[in-house]
């Protein structure tokens, strides 16, 4: 056919094992790869974040987006302040119960495919705010893909979390039909995980186990 296939030279050495390229004598080449790989590669490198910043973590998030750490290197330069055009929800900061229905609605407004990053101790577990007003982890409201620890996390930490999410996206398979399923909250309670599980993961831990439930 006059084509020269170069699987070793084109793909494997460059770290892209799924790409096979061919170079005809005339100079007009073609590339073949798995569709999964190509789609995931595109998605993971053009994540548009929906910043849900409620506290000091949002300051670190802004620092991450600014020129020194430059989130644009990861294809995330476009902050999407509308959930309709966003791919990844980054919840940066504590979420009080009053914001819980807002966060839930924003997540429901985001189109598939979508992912969520829980940034910082408060978003992931309630953090130091083990009190009447703060949700003990946003995973009780929406499904979370990556938890970034820290109080607040440094920009490097958030970038590491984003890179973990990119790796996770690269492992997705189109054959897995359940990946794009919307979560299905209970129609009456509106919870998407069982109430007993929420109570269990909201149990106090660390220093806050020594706090009494009632004051006097």
């Amino acid at each position: 056919m006059g084509l020269i296939t170069k699987p070793e030279a084109g793909g494997a050495e460059a770290g892209m094992p799924h790409i096979v390229s061919a170079e005809p004598a005339g100079g007009e080449g073609w590339v073949t790869t798995r569709l999964d790989f190509l789609v995931n590669w595109g998605r993971s490198n053009s994540l548009w974040p929906m910043p849900f910043g409620t506290a000091c973590c949002a300051i670190e998030f802004m620092a991450t987006a600014a020129s020194k750490f430059d989130l644009a290197r990861f294809g995330m330069e476009r902050m999407s302040f509308s959930p309709r055009q966003a791919d990844v929800l980054i919840c940066a900061g504590r979420v009080p119960f009053k914001l819980a229905p807002v966060l839930r609605r924003i997540w429901e407004q985001m189109p598939q495919p979508k992912w969520a990053i829980s940034m910082g101790a408060c978003a992931s577990s309630g953090g130091m705010f083990d009190n009447y007003a703060v949700v003990q982890g946003i995973d009780t409201i929406i499904p979370v893909d990556v938890y970034v620890p820290g109080c607040p996390p440094r920009p490097e930490g958030l970038i590491y979390g984003i890179m973990m999410l990119q790796k996770k996206i690269m492992t997705e398979r189109m054959s897995n039909k359940s990946l794009r399923d919307e979560m299905d909250p209970d129609p009456i309670s509106k919870l998407y995980i069982p109430a007993s599980r929420i109570d269990e993961i909201s149990e106090p831990f660390g220093n806050s186990v020594h706090q009494t439930r009632s004051a006097p």
């Binding site: 839930r104 949700v135 919870l191 109430a195 009632s214």
Partner: protein, 229 residues
């Protein structure tokens, strides 16, 4: 009212100064204390001076009259209400206190008005909203956190917690730190709240922005629509 910039050394009687060597207890009371005593007599229960700040303990029923006089009287001229809050002491036999912080910009004075509410009785004080419109949200916050009713407030409802909040008043001493309900029940009730209720149509009505709204939105409000997306 026109304010003039008063600089130190100008000889103006209200020129700015930094208080020095202020005693922790006692000292010279704000002139408004004596004026209040002369004006209201027995309604003024006690006048304390703590760290140079005058605290006047007054009768609950007289609060609105006293605050109105402090605001209106030309010799007092307390134009600014900086805070309304409440105190519940850890000693449960002590009465609850409601506190108003008043500031006179004209005379550079500060006075703290306090009143005591006995435990067990109805926690109700007069609202100062008719005098200071800025008391609106301060009194709503005080009601939300302590459950104190401000009689005469035009729209007394919760401001920090959502309006259907059922667990009580969080800053009261008998309120458990983590709330009364289980976490799943708290989350269920929170998710049940409509995030748009009281934040769109009704707030706009309160703001009297009705005439400036587009026609379609006016029609939606007139039809009684509560939420919109």
């Amino acid at each position: 009212m026109k304010f003039e910039i008063v600089k130190p050394g100008s000889g103006n009687p209200v020129e700015p100064s930094t208080p020095k060597n202020v005693p922790n207890r006692g000292g010279e009371a704000n002139p408004s204390g004596a004026a209040l005593k002369a004006q209201f007599g027995n309604a003024i229960l006690r006048i304390d001076v703590v760290n140079g700040e005058t605290t006047v303990l007054v009768e609950t029923a007289k609060v609105l009259d006293i605050v109105r006089w402090l605001h209106d009287d030309a010799t007092q001229s307390y134009e600014y209400l900086s805070d309304v809050t409440a105190v519940e002491h850890r000693d449960l036999s002590m009465p609850m206190e409601v506190v108003w912080h008043l500031r006179s910009i004209k005379y550079r004075r500060f006075v703290r008005i306090k009143t005591q509410l006995q435990k067990g009785a109805k926690l109700e004080v007069p609202s100062v909203w008719p005098v200071y419109k800025g008391a609106d949200w301060l009194e709503r916050e005080c009601y939300d956190m302590f459950g104190i009713t401000f009689a005469g407030h035009y729209d007394l409802r919760r401001i920090l917690m959502w309006e259907q909040y059922k667990e009580g008043f969080p800053l009261r001493k008998d309120f458990p730190l983590r709330g009364r309900f289980s976490r799943s029940e708290q989350l269920r009730q929170a998710l049940d709240a409509n995030p748009e209720a009281k934040y769109s149509m009704e707030e706009l009505k309160v703001a009297d922005a009705f005439e400036e709204l587009p026609l379609d939105m006016r029609a939606r409000i007139a039809s009684g629509e509560k939420t919109g997306e």
